[in-house]
């Protein structure tokens, strides 16, 4: 793939995905397109399909219908690790920190270059970005505070040198000061050219950070557009999220 093609080919191109948990039909024809360097937010109340959309794209809950392509390559029937290896850093809801594994081990266990052989995010750069982690480098990851665990989860994802980072509930359960720190880090990641998909309940920050938004209601996209569109028509957020 040429450099020009890399820029014009979506990182994620999910079309008409229908996902089920058993017989329960959760996603009803969701479309999600993400271009390189773009930041997309997934909005919606709890249980509307945001995490399921992410898990469907990553292959953890494969869609029964529809197509998902990553960097232009259809990924049907591929395992999650194969999809993530295509340049995705995953920061799951709950952070996915392993008890008994130190901060340093978390930051080295999946470290790798990107598919162009570049190692832009080294352990040192991650520790520069998250000085708190450097101070607790030999501590058990599960003994960190919630904010530090989120930093560790983001740092671990960055050590895989991703083209896209997926943050599910990026600041959930964190103290306001820590939330601000996480949003600052997200902006830094954005500025470094890494695309992102962010799920969070903090609408103001999402409106500020994200280039585009998908609003999900009962597994359907009811709004797709930029922050200007959402700000211009407050009734959208008011109706579907109860905020204006």
């Amino acid at each position: 793939m040429t450099a020009a093609q890399q820029v014009t080919t979506p990182l994620i191109d999910a079309r008409n995905i229908h996902t089920y948990y058993g017989e329960s039909h959760v996603l009803h024809g969701v479309d999600l397109v993400l271009m390189p360097g773009e930041t997309l937010s997934l909005l919606g109340r709890n249980g509307m399909g945001k995490t399921t959309t992410l898990k469907s794209i990553l292959g953890f809950v494969p869609p029964r219908e529809g197509q998902v392509a990553i960097k232009g390559i259809p990924v049907a029937k591929r395992r999650p690790w194969q999809l993530i290896r295509q340049g995705i850093g995953y920061v799951p809801e709950g952070r996915g920190i392993f008890p008994g594994i130190s901060v340093r081990e978390h930051l080295t266990m999946a470290a790798r270059s990107n598919d162009r052989g570049e190692t832009l995010w080294t352990l040192e750069r991650v520790l520069d970005t998250f000085p708190r982690l450097g101070q607790r480098i030999n501590h058990d990851g599960s003994f960190l505070s919630g904010g530090e665990q989120q930093m560790l989860s983001i740092g671990r994802a960055l050590t895989t040198n991703p083209d896209l980072i997926i943050l599910d509930e990026a600041t959930e359960g964190l103290a306001p000061l820590i939330r601000d720190e996480i949003w600052k880090i997200i902006r830094n990641i954005q500025a470094s050219g890494i695309a992102s998909i962010i799920v969070d309940k903090n609408i103001d920050n999402l409106l500020d950070v994200a280039d585009r938004h998908l609003l999900l209601v009962k597994g359907r996209v009811v709004y797709s557009g930029d922050s200007h569109g959402l700000k211009a028509d407050p009734s959208i957020l008011d109706t579907h999220l109860g905020v204006a």
Binding site: R79, P80, I84, I88, G96, F98, G100, E105, M109
Partner: protein
Amino acid sequence: MDLAFFGVQLLNGLQYGLLLFLIASGLTLIFGIMGIINLAHGAMYMIGAYLVYDLTLRLGNFWVAILVAVPIAIALGLIIERLFLDTLYKRDHLYQVLLTFGLILVLNEAQRIIWGGDVHSVPVPAPFDASLQLTDNLQYSVYRLFVMGVCLALAAAIYWVIRHTRLGIIIRAGAVNRDMVEGLGINVRTLFTLIFSAGVALTAFAGMIAAPLSSVAPGMGDSILITCFVVVVIGGIGSIKGAFWGAILIGMAETFGSVLIPSLASMVIYLIMAAVLLVKPRGLFA
């Protein structure tokens, strides 16, 4: 019990415990990381012993037999994992229990067809077919000491891999949250194959080096399987450290139990397990 007798029992308990560790380490990794209850693990111990018995007869040398038998055990592990277990990871434990119980029957029958129902012995190999004078009245088999040394070296190697390598970090992480490991772009499927093969190779190797210490007999893996499950439960499922200390504890308890309280010997390890679970329900090192 005089001091010399106590010393011999102590060494016997340690040697038995270290041998148990080799078997239990594979069992705890397979159970803790892959979620597979491998009832056929003991049968692999038996197959290891029979392989080394057969190959020693054919090749005339115990050490060469081991060199040939270990790759065969690894291949057997690979075949079983890829052919049979691959489809069962997402299923209930009951399916795994049924499959691995079926494997016990198949492997036991294969053993009878290939090697018959007789009990065999493997001579203690040179240069370890001697006794060492530890004190004026205490002699001990050099081969038993050698087995202890090998088991300790393997335990140290396993510990080093688990604590100080990236593979070890991934294995420890996999024991906690497999999906998250996969979410980091790590091929858990290959990790499973590696762990299962290594686990089978370790238990088969234990059977190989134990062959000169005891008879090579049909069903010899069945009883040791139960003991190893006790070790795994005591140590904590998925914990190599737990398997080590659990194995030493059970090795000592079984050895001293059979000497000091023969009438209760068969109960001792279960009483210890019950006591440990009362205090630490997830095992000592979970």
